[in-house]
């Protein structure tokens, strides 16, 4: 099976879906030149009409995507960084997710917002935040964050074919990561987790780059004879509650790892759900491992200290075991 990078897998998903369906098009800032390699080369194949460069106007471009979606097209709106979605908040929070419901089911909004998510390039607060937790709080918007090239391609293809608005987050720090990507067509369903490692002592849930943090922690725990089960949620909204609850039923211990600011993080939601629905299975209080509660600093030393580390996860897991 060919090995490809995370961004190459995303680019492949875009190209395949644009070939398959001529209602699919890409719109955003510098999508032609491909300032992020995920869109590079698409303009050469698909031309001006289907790869549309726009002014730096996140609000209008997001809304234009919505307007195009409700009139029959299937736009992919590339707004570069997750933090730039904040400039388009009205269109996402007030319009995209609500329109179908608000108008009594008269319309649908088949639209993908595509942005990079999270830290890892020492770019400071405005270009290094994970934003997924905000959008988990909005009804009727799907949010996905793949951790591998395989999932990146398969989930993005599912997102493009989905008739609902989807925020497709790709991890800034995983862009160059390589993995196996089949040549044959495949899809990864939205809302289904992937158990990355089986174990019976503690359940660790994570998403995006923290999946690797969790796996690293699991290896460390294994040297102490403790077997962690690591679940890659892959989708944040809707998220695969069942897989987490089944795992906790087996292990009785739960650690939620998430690159978010701690309050109302994805980890908060997972932890609350486990506490609410699996209390009887728990042998210890649930633990959350998140970013430090500070704006993202610039210095690589400080940035690293903000993010969840394997040592943090190991410490949290130990707390559930003692």
């Amino acid at each position: 099976m060919p090995r490809k990078t995370y961004v190459a897998a995303i680019q492949e998903a875009l190209a395949e879906e644009m070939r398959r369906d001529d209602r699919v098009f890409l719109i955003g800032e510098d999508v032609r030149i491909g300032v992020f390699p995920s869109t590079r080369g698409l303009h050469a194949e698909f031309g001006d009409k289907r790869v549309i460069d726009t002014p730096i106007s996140e609000l209008a471009v997001a809304g234009a995507g919505i307007g195009a979606a409700v009139t029959g097209l299937r736009p992919i709106v590339d707004l570069m960084f997750g933090t730039f979605l904040y400039l388009a908040f009205d269109q996402i929070a007030n319009q995209a997710g609500a329109m179908r419901y608000m108008y009594g089911g008269q319309t649908k909004v088949p639209l993908v917002f595509m942005v990079q998510n999270g830290a890892g390039s020492s770019a400071g607060h405005h270009h290094s935040q994970a934003v997924h937790q905000f959008f988990m709080n909005m009804p009727q918007i799907k949010v996905i964050l793949p951790s591998s090239p395989y999932d990146g391609k398969g989930l993005l293809k599912s997102a493009i074919r989905d008739d609902n608005p989807v925020i497709f987050l790709h991890s800034l720090s995983l862009g160059g990561k390589r993995g196996e990507v089949p040549s044959d067509e495949y899809l990864v369903p939205i809302g289904v987790a992937d158990v990355k490692r089986s174990g019976s002592d503690v359940t660790i849930s994570a998403v995006g780059p923290t999946v690797y943090t969790a796996l690293e922690a699991a290896e460390e725990l294994a040297t102490e004879g403790l077997e962690a089960e690591v679940i890659d949620l892959r989708s944040l909204s809707p998220w695969d509650k069942q897989t987490v609850l089944e795992s906790v039923a087996k292990t009785g211990r739960f650690v939620a790892v998430d690159e978010s600011f701690p309050t109302c993080s994805a980890a908060s939601e997972w932890a609350a759900t486990v506490a609410e629905e699996a209390f009887a299975d728990l042998k210890a209080p649930v633990q959350r491992v998140t970013n430090a509660d500070v704006p993202m600093p610039f210095s690589p030393v400080l940035e690293k200290a903000v993010l969840p580390s394997a040592a943090d996860v190991v410490a949290a897991a130990r707390k559930t075991l003692t």
Binding site: G67, V70, D90, N94, Y101, G104, Q106
Partner: protein, 327 residues
């Protein structure tokens, strides 16, 4: 005010649209005062010539986007009074099954892509409707109704610039009713004509007398031809008057404070679009008095039927809360 270049049937059609909006809105005002309508309503009385003139220049395939003050736009585009009224009552028989309300009525079958409750919120969406017409090579144009208040939002700038740079078939119709809520528009901007801003986007900016439905029709025709011909967007500023409140019942929540003078209100009354049209069609023998009376009676009757049907209609089942979710 003149109609020489406008076919007679269009004149009659425009008159009918204005009257239908007026009678509907008057009834909504009454129902609100009687406490029969939940939430709040923003009436279009005084501004009818804008929606009627603009929509008479559109085809059924053309799309519109509306605002919190949207009833007039829905009616002018051909919306169904019964489904509208039922929505205002929050009934299952309403356009949005009671999930939208006054500020969120849509009828996708007639190209009415929705009223948007956020000031300026519809502008980017109208650009997208224009984008999809351009993308598919359709003749369709996208009309965006918005107010003077929205002209001070960032979305105004982004939307006009985006539509202009991509040369999209979008017509931006600014209803300058002189007030953003309770603040005079002239306190909120340092220019007299919002249309002047069009120059900053390299598109035509036209100032229209928004109380003259014929002028609105005429200017819209020009903008539609330009858009269909690939010429890109136009900004039309309709100078109009909000005859009534920002929101019905405002006297109560303003504690009786006044923000408009009696002279100003009297001047707006003298420029009432229905009054102007009625006088015009009567004096020019376009519609005989008897015909005007019949028309008024028919419309009044259809509004009354809409109210009866809305009142008698079923409320939504609580189970419907979880319908119209994921596709």
């Amino acid at each position: 005010m003149h109609h020489q270049d406008i076919p007679l049937e269009v004149v009659q059609d425009i008159y009918t649209r204005v009257l239908r909006i007026r009678r509907f809105e008057e009834e909504v005002g009454r129902l609100f005062r009687q406490g029969q309508l939940p939430g709040f309503v923003h009436l279009y009385i005084g501004e009818e010539a804008v929606a009627a003139g603009v929509c008479a220049a559109l085809t059924d395939a053309d799309t519109i986007i509306s605002t919190h003050r949207g009833h007039g736009h829905v009616i002018a585009k051909g919306g169904d009074l019964k489904r509208m009224m039922a929505e205002l009552f929050g009934k299952a028989t309403g356009y949005c099954k009671g999930k939208g309300g006054s500020m969120h009525i849509a009828d996708f079958d007639i190209g009415m892509l929705g009223a948007i409750g956020i000031v300026g919120g519809g502008m980017p969406i109208s650009v997208g409707a224009g984008l999809s017409a351009w993308y598919t090579g359709s003749e369709r144009v996208s009309v965006c109704f918005f107010g003077d208040g929205a002209a001070n939002e960032g979305s105004f700038h982004e939307s006009l610039n985006l539509a202009s740079t991509l040369t999209l078939p979008v017509i931006f119709v600014c209803e300058n009713n002189q007030y953003g809520e309770f603040t005079p528009a002239l306190h909120a901007m340092n220019i007299t004509d919002i249309a002047d801003r069009a120059a900053g986007y390299g598109i035509p900016g036209l100032v229209a007398d928004g109380t003259d439905a014929f002028e609105m029709y005429r200017l819209t025709k020009t903008a539609v031809e330009r858009a269909r011909g690939g010429g890109g967007p136009t900004l039309i500023e309709a100078k109009t008057h909000r005859r009534g409140s920002h929101a019905e019942g405002e006297e109560a929540f303003l504690g009786g404070q006044k923000y408009r003078s009696d002279e100003e209100m009297a001047a707006a009354q003298a420029k009432d679009p229905l009054l102007l049209l009625h006088t015009y069609v009567s004096e020019n023998d376009i519609l005989p008095a008897a015909k005007l009376e019949t028309l008024d009676a028919e419309i009044t009757q259809s509004v009354a039927e809409a109210v009866d049907a809305a009142r008698d209609g079923p409320s939504p089942e609580v189970e419907s809360l979880f319908e119209d979710l994921w596709v």
